[in-house]
Symmetry: C2
Subunit: 219 residues, 2 copies
Amino acid sequence: MQEDLKVLLVQRRVAPFEGFWSLPGGFVKMNETLEQAALRKLKEKTNVDQVYLEQLYTFADLERDPRARVLTIAYYALVSSEHFTLKPSEAVADVKWHSMYDLPELAFDHAYILDYALQRLRNKLSYTTVGSQLLPEKFTLPELCRIYELILNREIDKRNFRKKMAIMDVLEDTEETSQKYSKKPAKLYRFKHSEIIELSQSPHTIIQPKTPRSLQGER
Amino acid sequence: MQEDLKVLLVQRRVAPFEGFWSLPGGFVKMNETLEQAALRKLKEKTNVDQVYLEQLYTFADLERDPRARVLTIAYYALVSSEHFTLKPSEAVADVKWHSMYDLPELAFDHAYILDYALQRLRNKLSYTTVGSQLLPEKFTLPELCRIYELILNREIDKRNFRKKMAIMDVLEDTEETSQKYSKKPAKLYRFKHSEIIELSQSPHTIIQPKTPRSLQGER
DNA sequence: CCAAAAGTGTTAGTGATACACCCATGT
DNA sequence: ACATGGGTGTATCACTAACACTTTTGG
């Protein structure tokens, strides 16, 4: 359990930014959706198949690319720590996983984009079950806790973490155990729902009455 | 203080969706930013100047427009309840403010986009000071509270609301009062910061230690 | 003096955080 | 028997939500 939060980067073979690492990307075809385009590009570099994909933001400043005006509609995917074969396509010198916390200098505005993505992911972590995408179907609570620690980049108290998970009520006990990381067997869990769930809690919000009343009749 | 949450719609003059109401929009020029394009289009219909603009999402499904594949990078702006002169441009039959809670049938996927925008706005309301954009510089607490009620579409307890605002510590007392909506004078406040502030609280998150400790050295 | 909106405090419940020891197993 | 990571409970504090009366003014 000494993993890391990683991002897949490709090394550019051509100018501009020749030799720099950058986010994988490419052009959207006229009759494919943005999601299809993102998946296609991802597949060119990995053999990833089922992934969580989310639109991040559209970056479109005029000077992003010295050659021409380029709009980037950025998506991010989360894949669990299983192994994928990386296959550099011909346009690219290399493909590699890099630690999010130890990045090389990136081409274009990609460092900014990555930073934006990390913030988004951290936010999502607190009110959804995105974390589920970074583990195999069955996992132990210490493993899940570790995912949170890696993304949030700080220690989490395991007792509080377990309590929180219990309250959220999103996990179910498989009857199995794992001894992957310890001699004492750890219970294996899975997420009750395969999709990503939004947790409805009442945090930090402006006043959420228990029994909402209608305001102004019709509305 | 019997206002409403409104959205600016334009009525289409031409097919497809002739006669339907739709969100104002247009094409981005080759050498303007998305924000500039959004502002330009907004200015064609109103005389709005200083506005809060935020990128919402990029909608790009293949069948959004029957004529061709169109990508829409949606932005939303918030303007305070002051009056703007609306000026329909020639491509458009009419321009009008519509209640968000009483919309006509909209062209394309614009109903979906609006719904998405409302959700975003509601979320932002709870952890930022976006509300400030919908009022003039100086305002009373009941007015601000009303903005929250309109956006969230539910009643808010005014005592709790005042307490919350006090804790957030984003308002400052002007020495003035207003009797616009009542005989008893209400104190006028203004936001301490003219920009929109993100409130750092600890809601609903997974465990935020008061004094964060470093995890794994360097990170 | 009446109507109308502004303004004000307290209590109970829930969720967040901090914290230390025992347990099951493999070696 | 010991080393390693898994698993557990409690007390404090902060925030949320519910709730009703007094104050200031204009008419």
